[in-house]
Amino acid sequence: MVRTLMNVRWIRLAAVLAMIGGLAAAKPAIAGETLDKIKAAGGFSCGVPTGIPGYAQPDAQGVYSGFDIDVCKALSAALFGDPGKVKYVPLTAQQRFAALQSGEVAILSNNTTWTLTRDTDLGFDFAPVVFFDGQGFLVTKKLGVKSAKELNGATICVQPGTTTELNLADYFRSNKMEYKPVVIEKLDEAVAAFFSGRCDVFTGDSSALASIRVGRASNPDDYMILPERISKEPLAPVVRHGDNQWHDVVDWTIYALMQAEESGITQANVDDMLKSEDPGIKRMLGVTPGMGKALGLDEKWAYNEIKAVGNYGEMFERNIGAGSPLKLERGLNALWTKGGLIYPMPIR
């Protein structure tokens, strides 16, 4: 017994080792292999956060729901006509990259920021940005701080292995301020440390901060998010570098969700839209065949995903927007036609 108790930490190391082992033992990935494998297996694994209300959160029965989950569901529906063919693998910020590199998951839908080194050194490719975010600071109102510039000397809780950790160091360096990081791997522990008063500040993507403030604080009104956004955080799903066909499938599955909102196709009216005379809608929904074949999917791919999770706007409002406790504004995440940055490429 002693030995098992002693080595809890080593189990995780062993897991990473096993992943490296997987990397070593995995067969060489040829372009197109991921999609073939997934089709043959009849399902795929999706790496999701361990628990951020609104993005990915298990309910009392352990069933995951949220914005990140819906991305995986849409992909599953596009591939199999059924949103339920996904195995959700909850991964911490530190575990996620090794899990994707080794092939334990086929895709990360894990609030991952798109950066140059992740795209190159880590051997990944990014799908279209599904959420434009920025890093902010959550503080208790008792602190009496109105701006991030007043945080000199503060103790700050942060998760390791994130761009958050790096932006934080950059921001304090460029503003010639000092801070003391408290770096805790599990989000739950880090959040608990903040609410217990171990840290003056919790820093993260402002959407996640909103989620933590509403979902975890005993009284959300005691806390506020400071106005500064110190970074750009384009959050996008991630796939392994080198399998272009799988990358294409993920890209266009996401564009279709956005295009559906632009074209006014919703979960409720998608069946009626099959009768639409609009040639663009006919192409997307497979009434005019061709798009599905080009992707290596069923012609009903876009129809199936919209039927399963609705369009991008519906996904947003249901999980993190007006229809959710988080009440996030669309802001940058509005369609380009409404002043936002969501701009689907033409499906033709």
Binding site: V2, L5, M6, V8, R9, W10, L13, V16, L17, I20, G21, L23, A24, A25, A26, P28, A29, A93, Q94, F97, A98, Q101, T117, R118, T120, D121, L122, G123, L143, L151, N152, G153, A154, T155, P160, G161, E165, L166, L168, A169, D170, F172, R173, Y179, K180, P181, V182, V183, I184, E185, E189, A190, A193, S196, G197, R198, D200, R240, H241, G242
Partner: protein, 396 residues
């Protein structure tokens, strides 16, 4: 076999090569070695292939890149502008620091508790037993969370910090205490301390020789203590006794000035010491019980006092039972310090994890962690083996 046997033809005939146990044994070993080396080579080849195909960076060049992340506590100078290599070094010193301190404190606590369990005083023995049975049987990770939670929840925020001694403050940011302002005199004080320790060795030899020759005892203990306190004290006074203190004071969010230990470090050290102390207590108890009672009786018959009996007769024999399992406990304490990551103390594993995640070079990172722990463990192990050889019973 003798020559007669050969000439009489009694020697067994040489078996066929595939039946010869020697040849067969060698063949199996060669096959096994080839299989192991082959699989490792295959795995490495495959891994390099996969890494290349996915465009994952390789090599240890990342150690020279700017780390760009902050570290909460460090024994050496560090800023986010330093390299990953430097950050790794910070983690290594933090791990060594907590492990070294933990080993010393756990040994002291364990020895006291082990002796207490053998005490004739019922209350002391029972209290020691309760300590051992409680803390030995709760997983270390839970104990760490317990101490950390206690320090976070029970202690007040910095602005309402408890002042337990003049200029010593306890808050949920840790314990802040005054430290002397750095002065060159302290170097001389440290040097005087080392000289005092080195002087004691020949002093003891001389005292032992004199006792053997004349039978007169020399108060080595008191003179040694005098040296250890006296020499550094003299250096301190000769240097002008610089008493300036840097005291902690509340500035903005937190205390500045003085020095402080974080709740993470305190919780980790408490957890490691209290947990490992239970095992050491049992090892010490077992070692002392392993010495036959007749040895103590014989020592008493010779007229040795209880302290001398323990020091000269019981302990030397107990140590050879104690030292080997004690080595294992030191090793596991060092390795258990990697649980620090759960409560956010920046040890080697925690920083290597962050590095791996920022650079994506898990293979290199894991290799470095394994190499470092292997090296630390082998170092502790060989030091303890040397000590074990010194205390082992020499049979004549």
């Amino acid at each position: 076999m003798t020559s007669e046997e050969v000439s009489l033809g009694l020697a067994p005939p040489r078996p066929a090569p595939w039946r010869d146990p020697k040849i067969r044994g060698a063949a199996y070993q060669v096959l096994f070695l080839a299989a192991v080396v082959g699989s490792i080579a295959f795995l490495i080849h495959n891994m390099l292939g996969n890494i290349g195909r996915q465009n994952i960076a390789t090599g240890f060049g990342f150690l020279h890149k700017e780390a760009a992340f902050g570290i909460g506590e460090s024994l050496i100078e560090y800023s986010p502008a330093d390299t990953y290599g430097r950050a790794f070094l910070v983690g290594l010193t933090n791990t060594l620091y907590v492990a070294a301190l933990g080993i010393v404190l756990a040994s002291v606590l364990g020895t006291l508790m082990g002796l207490a369990r053998l005490s004739g005083n019922w209350l002391i023995a029972k209290l020691a037993q309760i300590y051992v049975e409680t803390f030995r049987n709760i997983p270390l990770l839970l104990q760490l969370f317990f101490w950390w939670g206690l320090l976070n929840q029970a202690a007040p925020p910095p602005r309402q910090a408890w002042q337990i001694l003049p200029d010593v403050f306890v808050s949920n940011r840790g314990v802040s205490f005054p430290v002397p302002v750095a002065s060159p005199v302290y170097k001389w004080v440290a040097l005087a301390f080392v000289v005092a320790v080195l002087l004691i060795v020949p002093l003891r030899r001389w005292a032992a020789r004199r006792q053997a020759a004349t039978g007169r005892q020399f108060p080595t203990g008191w003179v040694g203590l005098g040296l250890i306190i006296g020499l550094p004290g003299a250096a301190f006074i000769a240097g002008g006794a610089p008493l300036a203190l840097s005291t902690p004071a509340l500035h903005g969010f937190n205390f500045s000035g003085g020095s402080s230990v974080s709740p993470e470090f305190t919780a980790l050290l408490l957890g490691l010491v209290i947990y490992t102390g239970t095992f050491i207590a049992e090892i010490v108890r077992a070692g002392i019980l392993a010495v036959n009672w007749g040895q103590s009786e014989a020592a008493m018959a010779l007229g040795l006092r209880p302290g001398q009996r323990m020091r000269l007769v019981v302990l030397p024999q107990a140590l050879r039972v104690i030292v080997p399992p004690l080595t294992s406990q030191y090793l596991s304490l060092t390795k258990n310090s990697s649980l620090a990551v759960a409560i956010g103390f920046p040890d080697l594993v925690s920083i290597a994890n962050t590095t791996m995640n920022q650079t994506g070079q898990a293979v290199e990172g894991i290799t470095m962690i394994m190499a470092v722990y292997l090296f630390i463990s082998l170092a502790i192990s060989s030091a303890m083996n040397l000590y074990n050889r010194a205390v082992a019973l020499v049979e004549r």
